[in-house]
C-alpha cells in the first residue's frame, strides 16, 4: 500500500497540519475575515450606488453603471487585483504606507460591488411595479418611494444572494497574496502555501482548505435555510375564516339608495 501511504503523507500529514494550525488560526483566519468583511461592506455600499444608478430613469446614470458592471464582472479577479494593486501602489504608499493590504481590499471591493450591484438591481426590479405607483399616487417623490418602500423590499429578497456573494469574496480573498503581503498580513491561503513550500508537503494547504470550508459550508446552509424561510414566509397558520364574517365590518349598515328614486 505504498501509494496510500504516500497520499496520506502528502495530503494528511497530521504533524505538518498541526504545526501550521496556530498560524492559520491566529494570522490566516483573522486576515481572511478582515479582508472579506471589509470588501463586503465597501462592496455593498458601492453596489447599492451602482444599482440605484442602474435603474435610474436617467441614461447618464444608467450607462456609467452598466459600463462599470460590465468591466469588473467581465475581468478575471486576478487581473483586476494585480492592476489595482500594482497600478496604484505608489498612490497607496502615500496614504496607507507600504502595505498592499488596503489595495487588495479595494480591488476585491470593486469586483464585489459589480456583482452586488447586479444582485441589488435584480432585487429592486423584482418588486412589483404597483408599489412604486402606489407611493407616487400618494404624492411621494421617486427618491422617497424608492428609499421608503421599494428598495427595502428589494434588499430583503436578495439577502440569500448576498450571503452567497460573501462566500465568493472569502474565496477570492486568497488572490490578494499576489500583491506580496507582509508576514503578519498573510491570509489563509498564503499561510498554508508558505508552510507547504517550507515542508515540501501539501498538508498545510489542506489544513488551510479546511479553514475555508469551516467558513463557507455553514454559510451555504444558512443561505438555504433563509431562502426557504423567505420564500415560504414565517407565517403562523391561522384557522380558516369565512369571508362572510367580514361583511359585518361595515357597521352599522344603513340602507340607502342613490341614483334612482326607489
Amino acid at each position: 500500500m505504498d501509494w496510500l501511504d504516500s497520499i496520506i503523507k502528502t495530503f494528511f500529514d497530521f504533524d505538518a497540519m498541526w504545526q501550521v494550525f496556530p498560524q492559520l488560526l491566529g494570522v490566516g483566519l483573522v486576515n481572511t475575515l478582515v479582508i472579506s468583511f471589509a470588501a463586503t461592506v465597501i462592496g455593498v455600499v458601492l453596489g447599492m450606488i451602482i444599482a440605484i444608478m442602474g435603474i435610474s430613469p436617467s441614461r447618464w446614470l444608467r450607462i456609467p453603471a452598466r459600463i462599470y458592471t460590465d468591466i469588473f464582472r467581465g475581468l478575471p479577479a486576478i487581473l483586476t487585483i494585480l492592476l489595482i494593486g500594482q497600478g496604484f501602489a505608489r498612490l497607496s504608499q502615500q496614504i496607507f504606507g507600504p502595505s498592499p493590504y488596503p489595495l487588495g481590499i479595494l480591488a476585491l471591493s470593486l469586483i464585489a460591488s459589480a456583482y452586488i450591484g447586479e444582485i441589488f438591481r435584480a432585487g429592486i426590479q423584482s418588486v412589483d411595479r404597483g408599489q412604486l405607483e402606489a407611493c407616487r399616487a400618494l404624492g411621494m417623490s421617486y427618491g422617497k418611494a424608492m428609499r421608503l418602500v421599494v428598495v427595502p423590499q428589494g434588499i430583503r429578497r436578495v439577502l440569500p444572494a448576498l450571503v452567497n456573494q460573501f462566500i465568493a469574496i472569502v474565496k477570492d480573498s486568497s488572490l490578494v497574496y499576489f500583491l506580496g503581503l507582509l508576514v503578519s498580513e498573510r491570509e489563509l491561503f498564503r499561510v498554508g502555501q508558505d508552510a507547504a513550500v517550507l515542508t515540501g508537503n501539501l498538508s498545510p494547504l489542506v489544513m488551510a482548505g479546511l479553514f475555508y470550508l469551516v467558513i463557507t459550508v455553514p454559510l451555504t446552509h444558512l443561505v438555504n435555510y433563509f431562502d426557504n424561510r423567505f420564500r415560504l414566509g414565517r407565517r403562523k397558520p391561522t384557522p380558516p375564516k369565512s369571508g362572510l364574517d367580514e361583511l359585518d365590518d361595515v357597521q352599522p349598515p344603513m340602507p340607502i339608495t342613490t341614483g334612482s328614486n326607489t
Binding site: 405607483e133 369571508g243 334612482s260
Partner: protein
Amino acid sequence: MTYTSPLPVTDGQFYRGASLELRDVTMAYGDIDVIRGVSLTVEPGTTTCIIGPSGSGKSTLLRGVNRLHDPKGGDVLLAGESALRMKPERLRTRVGLVFQHFNLFPDHTALENVALALRNVKGMSKRESLSVAADRLADVGLAERSDHRPRDLSGGQQQRVAIARALAMEPEVMLFDEATSALDPELVKGVLNLMAGLAQRGMTMLVVTHEMGFARKVADQVVFMDEGLVVEAGTPEQLFDHPASPRLQRFLSEVL
C-alpha cells in the same frame, strides 16, 4: 342590489369634492395613441363611472388624471386649475387613486400603510400620523385590524385599507381603477358600499368599473369608452335603458 353605507350619513362627516374637467385629453404609449381626445366634466361631489371593454383606455385615462402617465395633449382641470401645470407630487396629494390590486405595502401593518405618506408627504409627526391613520381605518370598518399585515387580510379588507390610505391624504377627487375586479364575489359588496358612502358624503369620484349595478345606482354620470374615445355619456338611465350607439348596445348585451 342596494348599496348600504358603512357609516350613517348623519355622522356629519362630509367631503368637499372638487370639480374635475378633462379637455380633449390625448395620451400615448410611445407612438401608439391610446386616448384620442377625451373630454368630460365631473361636477363637485358627483360620481362618474367609466365603463367599456378592455383595452378601451379607461385605466390609462385615470392615470392621466393624476399624471402617473402624463397626457400628451389637452388639459385636466382640478377645481379649475390646470393639473398639467402643477407639480405632479402636489397634484397627487389632491387626487387619490385606488388600484385594482390594492398595492398595499406588504411589510407594513394596515396602520403603517395609511400613516406612511402622512409622515413623509404631509410632514405629520409620528403620533399625529398614527392617530389620523387609526381614524381613517375606523372609517372603513377596520379599526380592529390595524396591526395586521396585508397578507393577513382578505382582499376586501386590503382594498378598504387602500381606500383609507388614499382618504387620509384628504383628496378632493378620488379615482378608482377597477377597485373590485380582483376581489372574491362575496367581498365585492363591502367595498362598493364603502364607495357608495363616499359618494353620498360629497366626494368627487371618477370610477372605472365593471360593476354595472353600481354604475346604475350610484353614478350621476356614466361614460362609455371604446378605443380611446368617449362613445357615449349621460345619466345611468340614458346609457343603460336607452343606449344610442351600436357599440354600447353590443357591450351591454355582453355584460348584463
